[in-house]
Each structure stands twice: as C-alpha cells, then as structure tokens.
C-alpha cells in the first residue's frame, strides 16, 4: 500500500481548489467572530444563519421564483442589447458611411449611465418588466457594440487583401475573414456586458420591482432580515461568476484556434500514481 502522503493531490484538482482557499478562510473567520458575538447579528449574521435562510427559502420555493425571474430579465435584456450591439457593430465596422452617420451619436449616448435614466424609464414603462429589460439592454449594448466595431476594424488588412487576390467575394471575405477575426474581440464585449447586465439589474430591481433577487433583498430590509440581504448579495456574486464562466466556456468553444485557448492539459503531465 501507499505510504501516507498528506497533500499529494492531483495537480489539476489542486489548481481548481487553490482559488477557494482565501474565501474559505474568511468564511471560517466570519463564522467564529459572529458566533462569539463579536459581530452583532443586526450588522452581519453568521454564515450558518445565512445558509439556513437560504435553505428555508429554497424549500419554500420563494428563492427559485425570484431567481428565475431575475435570470429571465438578465437573459432577455442581454439578448436584446447584445444583438443590437452586434448588429450595429457589424454595420458600422463594415461600412464607413454608416459609421460616419451613427458612430458619434452612439458615442454621445454611451456616456449616459443607464441608471441615470431610471426616473425617465419608470415614467415610460412604469415598474413593469419592460423597464428593467430596457435598462439591461442599454447597458449591454455599448460594450458589445464597441468591441465588435473595434474587432472588425483591427483585422489585419493584409488578410483582406489576400482574400481579394484569391478571388473571394465580399460576402466570403466577411464570413471567412472578418467575422472569425473579430470574434475574440466580440467575446470580450460579451463577457464584459454580462457583468454589466447583472449590475444594472440589481439596481433596477431594488428601485422598482415586486419580484426578483433585488426585490427580495429590499423586502428583507423592511423586516430587518440581514441574513436574507446578505444571501441576496452572495447570490449576485455567484450569478456573476456563473455568467463569466459561461462566457469563458464560449471563448473556448468558439476560439479553438487561438493560442490562448489551446488546451494546455497535455503540457502538464499528471504525476504517475505511486503504489
């Protein structure tokens, strides 16, 4: 049998565990301080209390309702905003005339924080779904637009010239050269805008909503349920991380050719197990 080897973990497992070390330590510290009464429950409940609140909300189904509503809003808003951003990014990137016509308007609008529009948006849409979807779409639009535009414009003109010499039609140049070449940049925009979508949604739901995680947190404030408030905040963090991981997965899927995303697993041979 093997000798006792306390920390001989699989290197891959080790790599995926190390990032969790600091959060885990903080959590333990927090639990200790809270359970000894150093931190009053009013200010910050113990992690165990928060976990309990989470379990209760999960059991009652309340959590899933709010969660799916928030995710739906973020998703719909993201889809609308990102599609429009992609569309206008492509149009303006490919057609200098369209850029001349539209780009400076976009640049002006870009500098208005979407959240500054909340009063106006409430007047337009009330506090219905449209208001939040609209805000998320506006926030998502600009990162996707800018990165798509930039991605198209920074394609090596030599490649396009090569396409012409090899007899490619303008459409073939767009599909074979321009779009794949702009994809890394577009995905940066997507990743960036996913984060923005959540941020805007949080504020939107806290100000004007009767459902969703933001509402859940604001509602809990009325009853001084700090555990639920903190839990909502943690939820946002987790959802943000989740959508970022999804965007990264997309990068790996769509950019297998990119040197940055080529599998490195072969380069790190796993240690043979010593028996």
């Amino acid at each position: 049998m093997a000798r006792f080897q306390p920390f001989q973990l699989n290197p891959r497992l080790k790599r995926s565990l190390i990032p969790w070390l600091v959060p885990l330590l903080l959590l333990v510290l927090w639990q200790l301080l809270a359970s000894r009464g150093v931190i009053p429950t009013r200010i910050l409940p113990a992690p165990s209390a928060i976990a309990l609140a989470a379990i209760n909300m999960g059991r009652s189904g309340e959590l899933w309702g709010h969660l799916s509503i928030s995710a739906g809003r973020a998703g719909v808003g993201f889809l609308i905003g990102a599609s429009l951003g992609l569309l206008f990014g492509l149009i303006n990137g490919l057609m200098p005339r369209a850029e001349l016509l539209l780009d400076s308007s976009f640049q002006m609008l870009r500098n208005i924080p979407p959240l500054a529009m909340i009063p106006l948006v409430i007047l337009w849409f009330g506090i219905g779904e449209e208001a939040r979807v609209f805000l998320v779409s506006v926030g998502v639009f600009f990162p996707v637009y800018l990165n798509t535009f930039h991605g198209i414009r920074s394609i090596d003109p030599g490649l396009i010239e090569m396409g012409k010499v090899y007899g490619l039609s303008p459409w073939q140049i767009v599909t074979n050269i321009v779009l794949p070449g702009a994809t890394p940049s577009i995905l940066v925009g997507v990743r960036f805008s996913l984060g923005i979508a959540w941020i805007i949604l949080i504020v939107g739901e806290q100000i004007a909503a009767n459902s969703g995680i933001g509402y859940m947190a604001m509602n809990a404030r009325e009853f001084m349920q700090t555990d639920i408030i903190v839990f909502s905040i943690i939820l946002y963090a987790l959802l943000g991380k989740l959508s970022d991981s999804m965007a990264r997965g997309l990068e790996h899927r769509l950019l297998p050719w990119h040197p940055n995303f080529q599998r490195t697993a072969k380069a790190v041979p796993s240690k043979p197990a010593i028996s």
Binding site: D156, G158, L159, E161, M162, G163, K164, V165, Y166, G167, L168, Q172, N176, I177, P180, G181, T183, L255, P256, W257, H258, P259, Q262
Partner: protein
Amino acid sequence: MSTTTPGTSLQLVELTKTYAGRPVLSAIDLAVDGGHFVAIVGRSGCGKSTLLRLLSGLEAPCDGGVLVNGEPLRSVNLHARIMFQDGRLLPWKSVLDNVGLGLRGDWRSRGLEVLRHVGLHERAGDWIARLSGGQRQRVALAKALITQPRLMLLDEPLGALDALTRIEMQQLIENLWLEEGFTSILVTHDVEEAVTLADRILVLEEGRIARDFRNDLQRPRRRGDPGFSQLTAEILDTILTQGGQGSAPQKTADHATEAVTPEHGHSPRPTGQPAGARGSERSDSPPIGEPSGALTAQLQ
C-alpha cells in the same frame, strides 16, 4: 512540364505609378514570356513590391498598363496567385482549410495532394499557430498551387525565414516551377536567391529597370559554382554602384570589382527570349579551389 496550358505571358506597357506626386515606377516596358522565371531585385524602396502589386491588380497604374496573355488587366488578376512574405494565413482555419480557401466543390482530396507536395499532409488538420515559419510558407505555397495558377507572384516569400529553411524552400519552389511550368515573378532583396531561381533577373532602380540579366546557368544551381558567384557579384555590383550617387553604400563585396564591365558575358536584353538550359541534370562540376561564393547578398 506536366500541365498543358502554358504559363501566363505578361506585357508591361509604359507602366507608371506615382504616390503623392512622387514617381515609384516610371514608364516600365517589359515583356515576360509564358513559363519564365523572372526575378526583380533592387534596394528597398525601388518600387519592386509596387510592381508586383500592379501585376496582381491590387493597385491600378497611374499610366500605362499590363497585358495578361494579351488582354489588358483591369481588376484583380485572377490568373495570378500571390505568395506574401508573411504568408497571410487565417489562424482560425486549419491548414487544409487555408489551402482550400474560397474553393467550391470537392477540393479536399486535391488539397491533401498539394499539401503532400510541400511535405505537410500530416499537418492538414492543425491550426496555423502550431506551425513554424517555414511550415507556414509551405502552406502558403500549397494554397497558391491548388488552383494550378499560370502566374505566380512571389513577394519576398522567404524573407522572414532562416537561411537553411530558405534554401530548402528555394529548392521546393524551383521543383514546383519545373513541374508546373507557371510563369513566376519573384521580388526579392536576396541576389543569391534570384540567381538560384530565375532565368532572368531585373535590377530595378528608382522606378526603372536599370539592368536586365539573363541567367542560363544549369539547374539545379549551386552557390559555389564560378558562374553563380560571378553573376551574383555582377548583379550586386550593379545595384550598389547605381545607388552610389545618392547615399554612398558601404562596399560589402570586395570581389565584385572584377565584374564591373557590362560586356562581361551577360548583356541586357530588352525582351524575354526563351531561356536556355532548364534541364534538371545535376551539374557535375563541384567547385574546386574557387573562392566561396557565399557573399552575403542581403541588401537591407
């Protein structure tokens, strides 16, 4: 020559190009017969790359024009395939897909065959990022060859490669040219490369053809051969002395002095005559006691 269609013939008639009032090419007249291998050498900025871009139709001349097989060239030259110095491969396509870019129908088997020709068929499925510089140029060559072009424009295709890979690639290009019989126009700043490959070498100087050398050396050519060294030195000397009025070049080649006279064997000729020996018998006289012809012919 395995293919039946001859190489494209080219005729340049008073071809002129100016950029912002500055002449880059001034009234160049030149005829290139089908199937010839012509090299264009000269200092950087002499207009040799511009000439190639005009031949490819990527740029339009300011005056004069190009006749391709007797037809005036008006847009992108679809007879021609260009091989660029930087390869210009698409990193998001596999090696094979790069070779078949823009082709329709069943080109895959042909693509693999061309890749086998350049010795890369085993890498057909790899991404471009995985290849070395020399391998990338092989892919670029395969990509140019798959359509069996009748005119190959080579824009310093080997300029970025190391010396050994470059010699290897020169042999490959020479063999492919002998097999396929396309017309080749090679732009290079490497005089030895021009002498190795071309049967006609044009020295371009300030937008004009300063000299037109004929190269009848037997193929495959060897750098050490006396004829090779002599021609290299002569061409190099032409370039250096003609640039001398303006910017006083450093004398890099001392033994170039023995080949200054223009009537030294190779006389300039106005139009392309059929080149001499293009046989592939190995030249059987190894260089004995000759000064090594390995003078660095880099002009940049």
